[in-house]
């Protein structure tokens, strides 16, 4: 490669907790070049943080991308479900790759440990929800080990401090999108998602429990398969830990995980930000790598550094 590769040009839309934490992670990635951080208010905490990191910012929301559509090739949408529904057709028109971190559920659902490669053929990738990223890989394994999963239920509890206004306004979408993802990835007949906010000080770590009802639990096989999946997730989410291995209690399978964050924007209790953002970065890096592969003999790197 003649020119130094700076990475896939990405913009982050949404300057709340999720967007700001994502910015710090994107800046660390050798495959991504964050060219624009977009919000609505230049004096917000997230914007101030971005400026302090030397990142170009805009307060024009989606208009920032419409006005300067060459600014990026990929857009992370960390706004709200309602906003993403407006953004998605605009970004499609502009032919951008989109990674959606809201629970709008417009794109192709992605769990990096399960279907990263399959997502490359779609331009709008849906990162589902934080609780979905923590639980769906486990539900997927339960579905692989058992072929008669009647019901999966997932309970996530996150620290109140880590839930910003959009998260709080989108609880219904969180539930609906998580349930849809659980069904799709596990093959279960019925699914239920529950989210609790806990205001305890010091803040509690994100914790997620998966319950399952199956005809005949295969606990020993499940334990091995879950351990395997946990290792796969830890590759991109280092703070993901199994705290209650698969066990049968009261005729239900129970598995419990805790997610500690990297402490990038909010402290490490905010594992919910970390897990969805780590998954989103893994997906964006995969897009970047595939583009490099595609253009290995061509002018890809030069084009991206224009």
């Amino acid at each position: 490669m003649g020119d130094k590769f700076k990475g896939l040009k990405v913009a982050i839309l949404g300057s709340g907790n999720v967007g700001t934490d994502l910015l710090i992670k994107a800046l660390r990635s050798p495959f991504l070049d964050c060219t624009l951080f977009i919000g609505r208010n230049l004096s917000s905490r997230g914007m101030t943080k971005a400026v302090s990191l030397g990142v170009k910012v805009s307060d024009l929301s989606i208009d920032a991308i419409i006005k300067d559509s060459d600014c990026c090739d990929l857009v992370f949408d960390a706004t709200s479900a309602l906003s993403h529904k407006q953004h998605a057709p605009i970004l499609e028109e502009l032919d951008k790759y989109v990674i959606d971190l809201t629970p709008a559920n417009m794109g192709n659902m992605c769990i990096p440990a399960v279907n990263l490669q399959d997502c490359l053929s779609h331009k709008n990738t849906d990162m589902i929800t934080c609780g979905g990223q923590a639980s769906i890989p486990l539900a997927h394994v339960i579905g692989q080990v058992h072929d008669d999963v009647d019901y999966i239920e997932v309970v996530s509890t996150i620290a109140s401090r880590s839930a910003g206004p959009a998260t709080r306004a989108n609880l219904d979408e969180y539930i609906e999108t998580t349930e849809k993802g659980l069904k799709m990835f596990s093959g279960c007949k019925r699914a239920k998602a529950i989210l609790n906010l806990n205001p305890a000080q010091p803040c509690i770590d994100m914790q997620t429990t998966v319950f399952a009802k199956v005809e005949k639990p295969e606990i020993e096989r499940l334990k091995l398969a879950i351990d395997d999946m946990v290792r796969k997730i830890q590759v991109y989410v280092p703070g993901y830990q199994l705290i209650v291995p698969p066990t049968v209690e009261n005729n239900r399978i129970v598995v419990m995980v805790k997610v500690r964050g990297l402490g990038d924007y909010l402290p490490s209790y905010a594992g919910n930000l970390d897990i969805i953002n780590c998954a989103a970065v893994a997906m964006a890096e995969e897009y970047a790598k595939s583009l490099i592969r595609e253009e290995e003999s061509g002018d890809y790197v030069k084009n991206f550094n224009k």
Partner: protein, 337 residues
């Protein structure tokens, strides 16, 4: 004579007492008795409200939609009420269904510091012409200043009244007086109180709330509710009458309804068991009682230790999954001793 609006939680909070296994016949029998007694609002559903039937909290025997239809068909002058907790219940799945069936009163609840998650559900129900209240659960976990702020949010979203729940049954009358008067003095909408009886204060705390200006009180027949139960409705009505408040409820008929509940619904009349006292002292949600008892037995640990550890972790309603983790931890530390 000042009026107190009574909210009868027998067919909602009472679900906890039978692990959410109320039958269609029981719901019909009690709803009919409450109607005859002139109970203003009869609340119906899973113990944690609509959409809460789950492995986490216990599965309802009768689905929410059926419970509401049965109760609806027996209520004419009494109004049908529901509880919804965002994070469990959604507008599309639960609230719109209840409105279609014809509920009259919608209570939207959150943990006492999280009122902003109730905005969409409160405004949705208000826009459809329902009488809507905001509920703050586990209210012992926040100061009166915080509670005033959270109640103001609910008022702003459209709540026509706010109710403090003593979900863990931990309050003593003095604290109830302080918190209720703070709300009454700082809000323009009616204030209510929902008692639990873990420390034997169900009626005393309700009386303290009324004296401090609360105009909505919850009770349930024979105290039928989570843990040690609620303020016993028949006693509450009698006491309020003796104090000179008007409830609009017929005393003889509500005593009859209590008898119906005892005969038809109540497997074991709620009493203050050892674990309920500990649950109250530890400030843990009363609905944890049954799962804690079961899981403590399975892992051979002392249920009282489980409650105190859950209290130390400041668990909120809905975090029942932590019981297993705590019991396993306690079992491990016992083994290593």
């Amino acid at each position: 004579m000042s009026k107190i609006l009574i909210n009868d939680a027998t067919l909602r909070d009472g679900s906890h007492a039978v692990a959410h296994r109320l039958t269609a016949v029981q719901i019909a029998a009690y709803a009919a008795a409450a109607e005859v007694a002139g109970v203003p609002t009869v609340e119906v559903g899973h113990g944690n409200g609509l959409g809460a039937s789950s492995l986490q909290l216990g599965e309802s025997l009768v689905p929410d939609v059926e419970m509401l239809k049965i109760a609806r068909s027996h209520l004419v002058n009494s109004r049908l009420g529901i509880l919804v907790i965002p994070g469990f219940a959604t507008i599309n799945k639960d609230l719109s269904m209840a409105i279609e069936i014809g509920v009259d009163v919608v209570r939207v609840a959150s943990h006492c510091t999280e009122a902003d998650i109730t905005e969409r559900h409160i405004s949705y129900a208000r826009e459809r012409g329902k009488e809507v209240y905001g509920v703050l659960m586990m209210s012992h976990m926040a100061s009166k200043e915080v509670l005033i702020g959270e109640c103001r949010k609910m008022e702003f979203y459209g709540a026509e009244g706010v109710i403090l729940m003593d979900s863990a049954g931990v309050y003593l009358p003095k604290e109830v007086s302080e918190k209720i008067s703070a709300l009454v003095n700082n809000l323009t909408i009616p204030v209510g109180f929902h008692a639990h009886n873990n420390l034997g204060m169900g009626i005393a705390n309700s009386v303290a709330a009324a004296d401090a200006g609360a105009s909505i009180l919850d009770g349930s027949a024979r105290g039928f509710g989570a843990g040690a139960g609620n303020a016993q409705l028949e006693v509450l009505v009698a006491v309020l009458e003796k104090m000179g408040y008007s409830t609009g409820i017929d005393l003889y008929k509500i005593l009859d309804a209590g008898d119906v509940a005892e005969k038809e619904l109540v497997e074991v009349i709620p009493s203050i068991k050892s674990t309920s006292i500990v649950s109250g002292l530890a400030g843990v949600f009363s609905g944890f009682a049954k799962p804690v008892d079961r899981i403590a037995k399975e892992y051979n640990v002392d249920s009282r230790d489980v409650f105190f550890e859950l209290g130390r972790r400041k668990v909120v309603a809905g975090q029942e999954d932590l019981i297993i983790e705590v019991a396993m931890d306690l079992a491990h530390s016992q083994e290593s001793k």
